[in-house]
Amino acid sequence: MNNVLHLAYLVPLFPLLGFLINGLGRKSMSKSLIGIVGSGAILASFIVSVWIFMQVKGGNTFTAEYFNFISADKLTIPFAFKIDQLSSLFLLIITGVGFLIHVYSTSYMHEEKREHFGRYFAYLNLFVFSMLLLVMGGNYVIMFIGWEGVGLCSYLLIGFWFKKPEYNKAANKAFIMNRIGDLAFLIAVFWLIWKTGSVSYDTILPAVKEGTSGLNNTDILVITLLLFVGATGKSAQIPLYTWLPDAMAGPTPVSALIHAATMVTAGIYMIVRSNVLYSLSPVTLNVIAIVGLATALLAATIALKQNDIKKVLAYSTVSQLGYMFLALGTGSYIAAVFHVMTHAFFKALLFLGSGSVIHAMGGEQDIRKMGGLAKYMKITNITFLIGCLAIAGIPGLSGFFSKDEILAGAFMKSPILYGIGLFTALLTAFYMFRLYATTFKGSFRGTHEQEHHLHESPAAITFPLIVLAILSIVGGYVGVPEFIMHGAHSLNDFLAPVIVSVDHGAAHAAGHLSHSEEWMLTGISTALIVIVVVFAWTRFSKKPDTAEPTGFGKILANKWYVDEFYDAAVVRPLNKLGDFLDNMLEKPVIDGLVNGVGKLVNYSSRQLRLLQSGQVGSYVLLMVISMLLIFALQFFLRK
């Protein structure tokens, strides 16, 4: 209680207040006031987060318990926040990038009606609140609150323009796919309660490390796998990734914040948070590595043939998330967090840049109708280019450092993983520069009217772009690899206390590769990437890829028909089953049985009714006979 970090509740409190004020006052407040409240709340959180980060950097970590959320039987779930290196870093990313995106939104969403503008900021603040709960929660249940909360906000924001039916369907899809993962997450939590009687990190994780938790290997395997399934939902991995590209129906800043920079990294955060458990389960790590790599590759191939500017970025996000899971699977937890951070910078930058483009194009998202935008939008062009260079992994920019670390970790585990990982990186470079060149280079292919309206976006839009561009450049220097400069990987040192140091084998990435090997790997990958970048740039600047795809390209353009497969394998059978049960079982069989009993009674009474002839004489005769019978029975059966 005496620890100053007890004040950490302020971080989520501000967005919550912002949500309430904007939500309740959306009809009476002016747009600028709404924008100030919305952005100001996040700025306040950011300032507190910076202060917390300083505290943590000074060695002060703390678990603050506020009240008992649930206490039943022997289970106690406190409403607790855990402030340590990992969560403080995520706080910075969420509130920092979040603030920039709020500022961006004040301009981007300005054409909305006032109440919708207020609604938008309310949702956005609620999202930040949920995300903060997710990373600050001191146990799995508080994390789950945030976990479902961000899913809800994602649902609300994807369906923000609720008049369009397909947007609402995309929103539903996102929520339901997330729910599938959530179920697995919940079961993992139940399993933990069952075996350990607790859900708090502070109780479970140290006990697991010392082997006194009561969890055996099977338990750990199942729990980690279930948690991972949860992560595949939230972080859009195979098989639950298809919601993320559809989620681009939401406003572009939402895509930047939720579907690129923060929410989708929740799965990575969760696994890093539970790294003690994961390190004890090599099987799960292998599964994660394979799923992550497969997702990275699959999404990258799909991105090659997409023509919607946001869809390309969406698949690129899925692919990069796959990369992060590859890092987790190879045991390089810090590399994953590192990539989360750099990815947050450059992917937010790219999405916001694409928003700037869409804004200038009057809502057009098809890159085949763009081209040559560089000369109209200077700032957007340069910042977007920086983003592309960063994601491609050009040396000196942030993406290079984090990606390189992941690839090095993969190489340690197996050269095959490295090979596929590198191939995916090349694909990434290719489709990003296809996107860049088609959009910004060449000549303009849109209508005359669009060309007339082309303009650079206002300062509220370009300011976040510039900040993020700077971050995309310098963000990598917190993690300069050991072989380039000794002791410069400050992120490693910072996060070391929360990552379990496991000695056995491949789980540990750095330190086992000699410096010369690392130089060689980095050299090869850099050289290949540069070649691909140059190739894609020159090719698509001159001759944009506007033809309808055929053959294999068509399969890619149609996303390997995965949506169609899910539709045929799950959605339609389920609907059919529903109809079948309702029409063939419920009404005729079960209800039929019930009504049948009623009908039987009805029928038999109709038959018995015939005995009643109405002849009084027959009634009396019957009575007399019955009486005689009763007498007889009394008489003969008495003894």
């Binding site: 039943a72 008049k163 729910r179 179920l183 079961i187 609907n575 089953l577 109809d579 209800d591």
Partner: protein
């Protein structure tokens, strides 16, 4: 004193309501009475919570060994509070509904409340049976007089169906009675009844069928969607929000502790039925077009989970069920209010004919979304607390060896619930407005108050459920102690 007042107030005010001639006066009288009951109920939870205020016993049919014995334990507190909270909300939200012979309508509603309170309070088996039937009769008249077009047929089925269950239960009660040591109907004697092991088995089914029909549990559920669909909405709220809890309470108070060994040995069978019912109802709900039927099937799925948890027989589950009984009642009443609003405005409950309401009625959509999210147990809403504890209870159950399988299968309903609930929201509120919904108007003050109260309860119970959980602590322990089969088998 509190316990008696909770029954007497609605009973007397209900009888008095028959004599009102003015519709408005009857309405106000009913609201006044329900608020009074709520005040008494809250008084029992806060100021007068000593045991002497909460229970009462006097002579009733002493010759039979039955006394008028009522008492409020933790579970009773929760359910009486639910009943007391629901009624003002129901009356408020249906303030503008027109009923012919309104005085009779409100009188019957209040009489039903008296019956329900009695069921929740009775600590004597015969008294329990008495109130069980007493609650049914006003509901029968409510449905058959003020219901939809198929009301006669549907109400008749509903009545006969539940009555068959009641009679079976009566047989069970009488049999147990003959085996009590002191020939008494008192609950304590029932718990100590010396029942032959063989008879426990068929007795179990007598009781279970009665409660299962009321809840309802698959495959005894077919009266429910029809009855919900055809009843006037105010009655549907009573039926689904409060009345189904009679069955759940019956399981917890009258079945498990009276027949612990049979409950243990049939636990798996019943759990399987509950799970089949949950999935079955959820899948059917996906394909419903009528909002009332959709909610009815959704309710079957939720109640199935309660049944499953009860037969997991552990404390955390019991606590979850008790909390969830309250939450489910509040949430589903909220949903019915919405249905009533929609039906009164547009004259249809078909989702396919609606759409685009969000533009015209923003307040409505906010309330509806919050209540729907509570219905699918989103964290920080009340149902999450209940469902989380219930699932934990099922998962950590020691009386079955299929605990993991049961949890996973029941968990599928979490996903399916999201599917049908979100589809419902989408079809009613989102998209472009059509000719029917273009003239929609938003909520009025009375509806806002009623829905505001519900949302406040949802958030409160979702963020700080401790007061309610504390209520369930003692009673769960005491039920579990009597039900502890391992202990009994050793003996």
């Amino acid at each position: 004193m509190i316990a008696v007042l909770l029954i007497l107030i609605p009973l007397l005010t209900g009888l008095a309501a028959f004599f009102f001639r003015n519709e408005k006066a009857a309405r106000s009288w009913a609201l006044f009475s329900s608020v009074l009951t709520l005040a008494v109920s809250i008084l029992g939870l806060t100021v007068l919570k000593q045991a002497k205020y909460l229970s009462h016993q006097c002579e009733w049919m002493q010759g039979l060994g039955s006394s008028f014995s009522v008492g409020l334990d933790g579970m009773g507190q929760i359910l009486c509070l639910l009943t007391a909270v629901s009624y003002p909300i129901i009356f408020l939200s249906t303030w503008h509904s027109n009923y012919k012979k309104a005085n009779n309508f409100f009188a019957l509603m209040l009489l039903a409340q008296a019956g329900l309170m009695g069921v929740f309070l009775a600590m004597d088996a015969l008294l329990f049976y008495f109130f069980w039937e007493l609650a049914l009769i006003p509901v029968y008249f409510l449905c058959s007089q003020w219901g939809g077009e198929r009301r006669i047929q549907v109400t008749f089925k509903f009545f006969i169906y539940t009555f068959v269950g009641s009679v079976l239960m009566l047989i069970g009660i009488l049999f147990v009675y003959t085996h009590t040591a002191d020939h008494s109907f008192a609950i304590g004697s029932f718990y100590k009844a010396n029942l032959p092991l063989g008879s426990q088995h068929w007795l179990f089914w007598l009781f279970f069928v009665a409660f299962a029909i009321k809840m309802p549990i698959f495959p005894l559920h077919t009266w429910q969607p029809d009855a919900y669909e055809q009843s006037p909405t105010a009655t549907t709220m009573v039926l689904s929000g409060i009345m189904v809890k009679m069955g759940v309470l019956g399981l917890l108070r009258w079945l498990l502790p009276v027949l612990p060994i049979a409950s243990y040995s049939y636990g798996d069978t019943v759990s399987r039925l509950a799970i089949i019912g949950m999935i079955y109802a959820s899948i059917i709900a996906i394909r419903q077009d009528d909002i009332k039927r959709l909610i009815a099937y959704s309710s079957i799925a939720h109640i199935g989970l309660m049944c499953l948890t009860i037969f997991s027989e552990n404390k955390i589950g019991f606590q979850g069920v008790m909390v969830q009984m309250f939450n489910h009642g509040v949430n589903i009443i909220g949903l019915w209010i919405m249905v009533e609003l929609i039906e009164r405005q547009f004259g249809t409950r078909k989702m396919s004919e609606l759409g685009g309401l969000a533009q015209k009625a923003p307040a409505m959509v906010i309330f509806f979304v919050i209540i729907s999210l509570a219905n699918i147990a989103l964290p920080l809403t009340n149902a999450f607390v209940g469902e989380f504890l219930m699932f934990t209870g099922v998962f950590t159950s020691t009386v079955t060896k299929y605990n993991i399988l049961f949890t996973v299968l029941a968990g599928l309903c979490i996903i399916l619930a999201a599917v049908y609930t979100l589809n419902m929201i989408r079809k009613i509120f989102f998209g472009e407005a059509n000719t029917l919904t273009a003239t929609a108007t938003d909520l009025r003050l009375n509806e806002k108050i009623a829905l505001g109260a519900i949302v406040a309860l949802i958030i409160w119970m979702g963020v700080y459920p401790k007061p309610m959980l504390d209520l369930t602590n003692e009673i769960s322990d005491s039920i579990l102690k009597i039900t502890d089969v391992q202990h009994l088998l050793k003996k």
